[in-house]
Every structure is written in structure tokens, then in C-alpha cells.
Symmetry: C2
């Protein structure tokens, strides 16, 4: 059994509408970059995990584990696709982590990928609704913007959260995305632009919603012993946790709070032996702006209902008390659903290595990633450390 597991290499493609790229070209680019970054040779890799939500519906392609191992020139290695909707990427990382902890692997690649723009965007919306409960939500007409709009309505009613506060999440995300050369939207937006953008599902506007994105990301993990041989700057996975909730929103005790995130966060803090105030920065799952506010509450960065205020007070910006989504988040960087959980970790590793350029958080030592499937049916949290 390996006592600790380290990230020793990272890779990420541009995020956006990438007409010249395919599913296989995207993941192979990210994986090759990660393996090169780790200093390993391809044949040293013991296993591969691929997070992808819906290659079957987006590209008519299942069995992507074999496809990727083949296309990357690594045929023969054990390869596994894992899926839990938009949290597929973080689960690929988690299974890679567990496989090294089992003692059966030394070097494992965790990749995430989604090629979303090869079908019409209305079909993409239907596909994404596969993350919800088909029989109890989708067949009744629910869409993801609709479900998150219900959460936003309830949060505003219960805590007095304002449209301005929700909109400030998007302003901050775009501020950070403007500094991220891989981001889909490398430009800033004003509070007025966000608040006046096209209504989608009351109270959510277009600029509160993450986009349809093509992209891939990959990381290479190693056992503690191997990591120490290979690199002077390993980033350690201090904790990996996952929790589930009802897949359908109506079955929850509360829709203004994600219990799976609270449970996964608390378990991660316990495993890592740290508390929320020890965390220097976090990448959280802002598929819609309200989701970021709920996330920072669930993770204990402020009290329940205080997420809007924390955002409005600029405490989540790059220079704030707890910088959130320095990458630009799902809103600014883009949201290729299966890739997002790994992309969050790529950003965290960049921060912990001090390689985040203009987005660098001063003295970053402890980072957290928070990846959500559906409306909160799955939440996966990782805590990473450079010490």
C-alpha cells in the first residue's frame, strides 16, 4: 500500500468550441502533455482512468477507455472509464488515487474529456439532462437551468441573496478567465452586462450559466516512493472523498443546500486533518452562478446563507480571503463536463507549484477542488497540498 499519492504531471487543452478537434485528439493531447510534464515514458504507465459523461450521446462512442489507450499508443494497459455526470473527472482522479493506494499500481493517468459541440446545442441540453432523473424530472420537462433556477429562487427567499450577488460570481469568474490562456471566455464582463443578459430561467440570466465546451485535461499520479524519486515538487492528494444524494431535486430535505457537498467536504477535511480556514484557494463547481454560492457555504468558507455576501464583499476574488475559481471556473474557463473535475485539479496543481502566472495566489499551500454531478446527486472533493 502506498501511504500517500502525488500528482507529478498535468496537461490541459484549450477549452472552447474546437471544430478541428475530436474526442480522441483532445484527450490524447492532454494526456501526452501530462506524461511529458511528469518526466515518465509512456510505457511506465500502469493504468488509466478516463472521466467522460456522455460520449455515447455526444459522439455515438462508448468504450472510450480502450479508444484512448489505443490512440495514445498505450494499448495493453488497464483502462477504465468512470462516469457520474459532470463529476466524472473527479471520480477518474479518485479511482486513480485508490488504485495506487491498493498497492497494485505505481503510475496512473487520470484524464477527463468531453466533445460537446458535434451535436446541436438543444440536443446537448437534452443529453445533459441525463444527469438528472429521467423518469421524475426530464420526462416532466425539467432542464438543468430550470433546476438550478429553483435552487436560486429558494436561496434568495430563505437568505435574502440578491441577483446582484449572484451576478458578481460571474463578474469574478470572467475577471479570472481573462487571465487564463486556456479559457473559453478570455474577457471581462461588467455587473450590468451580467444582470441584463438574456433571461434563461428566472432568476438566472445567460451570463449566470456555464457554456457548452470541448476540452480535455489529464494528470499523472504516482505513489509516494516513486514521486520522491522523480520530482522535487510533488503535489500531494491529502484527501479524496465522494458522497451521493437523491438524483432528483424534489426528494431533498432542502434545495438551497447540497448535502452531498457538505458530507464530502467534511470527510475530506477530516481525512486531511485540516479545517476550512486552512484552505488557501478552491476550485468549485459553478455550473450556474448560484452553485458557487451554495458550494462555498457547503465547504464552510462562510456560514450557511452567507455565500452571496462573501462574494459581494470581494472575498472570493484573487486578492480576497479565499480565492474561488482562479481558473475562471466553469463559467469563464468553460465546462467540457467530463473534463471539468480534472481541469480543476490542473489549476490547483499550477497554484501549488507557483506556476499560475497572473492568477497566482500568494503563498498557496493548501487547495481544494469540488466537483458536482447533476443537481448534487454526486459530489467529489479533493484536498491538495505542496507540503
Amino acid at each position: 500500500m502506498s501511504s500517500r499519492v502525488a500528482v507529478i504531471g498535468v496537461g490541459i487543452t484549450d477549452f472552447g468550441e474546437l471544430w478541428d478537434e475530436s474526442f480522441r485528439s483532445l484527450i490524447t493531447k492532454a494526456g501526452t502533455e501530462a506524461i511529458n510534464d511528469s518526466g515518465l515514458e509512456g510505457e511506465m504507465i500502469d493504468a488509466m482512468y478516463i472521466g467522460s459523461m456522455s460520449p455515447g450521446l455526444f459522439s455515438s462512442q462508448e468504450h472510450v477507455s480502450s479508444l484512448v489507450a489505443d490512440h495514445a499508443g498505450l494499448k495493453g494497459i488497464p483502462a477504465t472509464r468512470v462516469e457520474a455526470a459532470c463529476s466524472s473527472g473527479a471520480l477518474a482522479l479518485r479511482e486513480s488515487y485508490l488504485s495506487i493506494k491498493s498497492g497494485e499500481m505505481d503510475y496512473v493517468v487520470a484524464g477527463g474529456v468531453e466533445k460537446m459541440t458535434d451535436i446541436p446545442s438543444n440536443s446537448a441540453a437534452v443529453t445533459l439532462m441525463g444527469a438528472g432523473d429521467q423518469e421524475w424530472e426530464a420526462f416532466k420537462g425539467a432542464t438543468f437551468p430550470g433546476l438550478y433556477a429553483l435552487m436560486a429562487q429558494r436561496h434568495m427567499y430563505k437568505y435574502g441573496t440578491t441577483l446582484k450577488q449572484i451576478s458578481q460570481v460571474s463578474v469574478k469568474s470572467h475577471d479570472n478567465a481573462a487571465l487564463n490562456p486556456k479559457a473559453q471566455f478570455r474577457f471581462r464582463v461588467s455587473l450590468e452586462q451580467v444582470m441584463n443578459s438574456t433571461p434563461i430561467a428566472e432568476p438566472l440570466r445567460l451570463l449566470h450559466c456555464s457554456p457548452i465546451t470541448d476540452g480535455a485535461a489529464a494528470v499523472v499520479l504516482a505513489s509516494e516512493e516513486k514521486a520522491r524519486e522523480l520530482t522535487d515538487n510533488p503535489v500531494w492528494i491529502s484527501a479524496s472523498s465522494c458522497s451521493t444524494d437523491t438524483i432528483a431535486l424534489h426528494d431533498r430535505d432542502s434545495i438551497s443546500q447540497m448535502d452531498a457537498a457538505v458530507r464530502a467536504g467534511n470527510e475530506a477535511y477530516r481525512k486531511a486533518g485540516v479545517k476550512p480556514s486552512d484552505i488557501d484557494f478552491a476550485e468549485v463547481h459553478d455550473c450556474f452562478a448560484i452553485a458557487e454560492i451554495m458550494a462555498i457555504e457547503a465547504l464552510g468558507f462562510c456560514k450557511l446563507g452567507g455565500g452571496g455576501r462573501l462574494t459581494e464583499d470581494d472575498e472570493t476574488s484573487l486578492s480576497g480571503r479565499i480565492p474561488i475559481n482562479t481558473s475562471g471556473g466553469l463559467k469563464g474557463k468553460g465546462h467540457p463536463v467530463g473534463a471539468t473535475g480534472i481541469a480543476q485539479v490542473v489549476e490547483a496543481v499550477s497554484q501549488l507549484r507557483g506556476e499560475a502566472g497572473k492568477r497566482q495566489v500568494d503563498d498557496a499551500r493548501l487547495g481544494l477542488t469540488h466537483n458536482v454531478g447533476g443537481s448534487g446527486g454526486t459530489c467529489v472533493v479533493h484536498i491538495l497540498s505542496n507540503e
Copy 2:
């Protein structure tokens, strides 16, 4: 780290065209039966892995890990779907096994499920082609019967394998299925019936092809320490191995042999410290009759090219030297693709517990399961022992 991992509970639904069952009802039935069989309470389960190939295309439902945890009354536990086409089930077992070996889990449920009959059967055939290479096979018109027909043609040309030998696989599968109350086809067929059945893709006839099936299966795994506390008849997982190959058939060195199966088999024998002649029975992936012949060669039960003869000589029947597919196999028992890898293990455990009734292999001590994704892009092998 747990030194060994045991199967302590099994459950399986009827296999067939089950119009009164849904995706969620099937997997919940199998999972509940497995948990009851283990003697555990639901709340003791630490994690869940679900193997399913294409719930998105068969039922518009992704995120089935959350769905199943929820519907089974186990919300909160970490739940992960794994997929590698028709080998998804065995990979769910493998990830469950690794998660216990990691030391982070004591009790884990591995389930497999597919609800295939809610779409027209021609759509199902298109969906199943997602297991192949879309860009290089499916778009050119290849189907899975077509790909396996190519393998059969080559095997017949290279080794003199006869249509009669290939047909004998199906006769033997139905002989066994007739004794399995859960099987889709609980009746025998004659050699003449098989050889004269509707041509599908030369040389394959209808009765050489596994059917479209609804069904689910589940097993409960435990660490060695916990298994010894709970049960007097644990079945040990002596080895778990996985290998990949090119996803497309045309890229292989040979199409009359599956290299992934050879690699996975050899690794499993090495890990378990046994050789092919030590194995008392095996459940192999006979999606088409020729696949069983190639499997028994790849696993070393006879020499390369000798699979047809071994079958014709009745050595793979219940009373033969190495009984193959005592359950009836994919052909006779049915092939709900994501469930198959777990169903194979359910049969192996029944044999190793001496609970296989009329299908019981005398003095069964060591069994092997062999689960294939696509045309051999993935192969997963497990060796199980009652000692």
C-alpha cells in the same frame, strides 16, 4: 491494506425481455438480494460500483451511480459507474476489489445492469456498435455480428475450425441454460437447429449470437478480516487483471486471437499462482459462438487453434475436462451487457459454494471469469477460489 478480498454475497435477477422492469428496479432487486445474502445491513456498505454500458442511449439516463444509490436507499455512499462496453460489469468488480485493497473500504457492492429492450432492436444494434470504433468501423457500416464473422472466417481458414464445431458451442450453452432458472433461453437446441438457423453474417447464424437482454446482477465484497467474521464460506478473489487492445479490429496483428485476453489471462494466472490446468471451470465471454472458441484458446485451456476440437470432443460440457459457461453463457443465459461480467461471477460463486444445483461442477475449487469489451478492446479476467 486488505491482503485478500472475498465475495460474501450474490444476487441476480431473471434475464430476459422484462417489460415490467426498469433500469432502477432491476439493479435494486439484484443489489438487495446480494446484500441480504451477505448478512450485512445496507448502512454498513462503504461504497458502490455500477457497471453499465449505455444507459444514456438505452434509457436517456446517465449518472446511474447516484440513481442506484438513491433508489436502493443508500444515498450518501460513494457511488461510481464504470464502463468498458460489454466488460463494464467485470470492471465494476475490479474497481470494488481495488477500493478494498486500498484500505479505504471494508464492504463494497459491485453491480452490473442493462435495460436494453426499451428501444427498437435495430437501435440497440447501433447502440452496441458504440463498443467499436465509430470513426473507423461504425461509420463504414461494420456491426458486431459482422466483426465477429470476420474473426470466425479467419479462424476457420487458419485452423480448419468447422461450422459444426462453432455450432456445438451453442448446443452446449443451451444444454446448460436449460438447467438455469434465471436464464433467458431455458431450452435445448440441436446441432441441426443451430446450423440451419437464419444466416446473420457468414458464417454466423442466429443461434450463434447472444440476444438482447434485460437483467442485473450484484455481488458484495469484503476485506479478509471482515469476511472471516461474517461467513464460513467466503469465495476469494485470487486475481483481478485487465488488458486493452486496439479498439478497432483492423489494427490488430491477428484477428483470430484476442491479445488482450492472452495478456489478462497470463497476468491473472501469475497473480493467483496457478496455471490453466488448475482451473476447474470458467465463465467466458461468448457474445458469439466463435468468441468462446477464441476465449478457451487465449486462456490456455487448449492450444491455439484447438478450441473447435475441444468443444467438439465435449470437453467443455458440464461433465467435460474443463466445463465452460455452466450458466448457459451469454448465448443461453442472455447478455444484458453491463450485467454480464457480474453475472459470470455470481455463477462462479454458486459453483464454488456448491450451490449450482443441476449445473454443479464436481469438486469445484478454482474458477475463472473472462469478460470482453467490444471486439477485444478490453478483457478483464478474475480467478476465484473457495480455499
